[in-house]
Subunit: 214 residues, 2 copies
């Protein structure tokens, strides 16, 4: 289910690119090719959400984007808080990519008094006020960018205050209530994994070169 | 295979935490519990890489960490380049988390002359010199943080110059030679997916509350 929803966002990105180059209609094959998937998968994904095309004419790009926008909640701005104003939190706070996609970071929280600041575009507030802030603004979305040992406590406080979706950058599995959805991104682990396989690729190459030299 | 390697890094993190609190030996059950997996899985993962414990005594933590370090290449520093000095590239450049794990970002490349700077701790260089830089330093690892439309070209140039592992932040599937490993992180897409499910969780709650009110 998570994968299907991810694909819907990717279809939308692709459709927006198609529209930019002047395309008006699209067939499931075109979308499939651009996304390295099959036309059957594209049609299945859309039909699961009640979106249907026309066998001869395909899908109208403009209409399809509107349908996806409504479905995916892209027709309004989503407010997000970040907990953790360390390297990662600051990076995310200054990351322009979220606003482009309709997300607005409204505040960052930290437990270090030296990091608190109300002067910037996005305020950094004391974590003591976290629950009150979430409840007062009826926020649903939180990003966790604290060290691993603090992540579970932050998740507990977020969900108790009403957060329903967490993007977790801390390298730890969070335990949350059934009415909250968590997605994990572990940047270090991804780089470590890439590094591991790069090492293997390099060693394999050396071996085959040594064989050739013999 | 990618998942197994990811787990090895996670085992290592957990073992380092165990050592910090004074533990000397560990059983597969302890590791399994901390990582939400099974003891059988832990033993299987280790045995795949020739690491074995003792049924009565478990694993020696110190020795296990050394074995994992060697296996995972954590016993030396890995040099990395980043292509793209936009919001994301800058964020990654200033992200302290990499150095903690033995990665050193040696240079960032961009095609925008206004972003070029040799003054900072990490130089931002013109992308024209990318291939020469990679070859001269025999680098294996690259991070792609450019817009989607430039990512494939960058990946092609990286791999042609000898890069064997790519961490790709651009929202596009890269085509690379068979001797290069790619891992993708799509931060926006993850936040969008979290937002989608948060919306559903919230709507479900509203419905059940309305039912109660009737």
């Amino acid at each position: 289910m998570k994968l299907t929803v991810s694909r819907l966002y990717k279809y939308r990105d692709t459709l927006i690119r198609f529209r930019q180059i002047g395309m008006v209609r699209v067939f499931s094959d075109d979308l499939a090719e651009d996304m390295n998937t099959s036309a059957t998968q594209v049609r299945k994904d859309f039909s699961l959400f009640g979106i249907s095309g026309n066998k001869k004419g395909g899908y109208q790009i403009h209409r399809l984007i509107i349908q996806l926008d409504r479905l995916l909640g892209k027709d309004k701005t989503h407010f997000v808080i970040i907990v953790g104003a360390g390297n990662l939190g600051k990076a995310l706070m200054n990351y322009g990519g979220f606003e482009e996609e309709g997300f607005k970071v409204v505040a960052v929280f930290d437990n270090d008094p030296r990091k608190i600041s109300r002067k910037g575009k996005i305020p950094v507030l004391p974590v003591q006020g976290l629950e009150r802030f979430i409840k007062a603004r009826e926020l649903d979305l939180g990003i966790i960018a604290v060290p691993y040992f603090a992540a579970q406590e932050v998740a507990g406080r977020m969900t108790a205050a009403g957060i329903k979706g967490i993007l977790n950058f801390a390298p730890v599995s969070l335990k949350v209530p059934g009415d909250c959805f968590v997605s994990n991104i572990n940047v270090q682990l991804e780089l470590e994994t890439v590094s591991y396989f790069a090492k293997i690729m390099k060693e394999n190459k050396k071996h085959s070169q040594q064989k050739k030299a013999l």
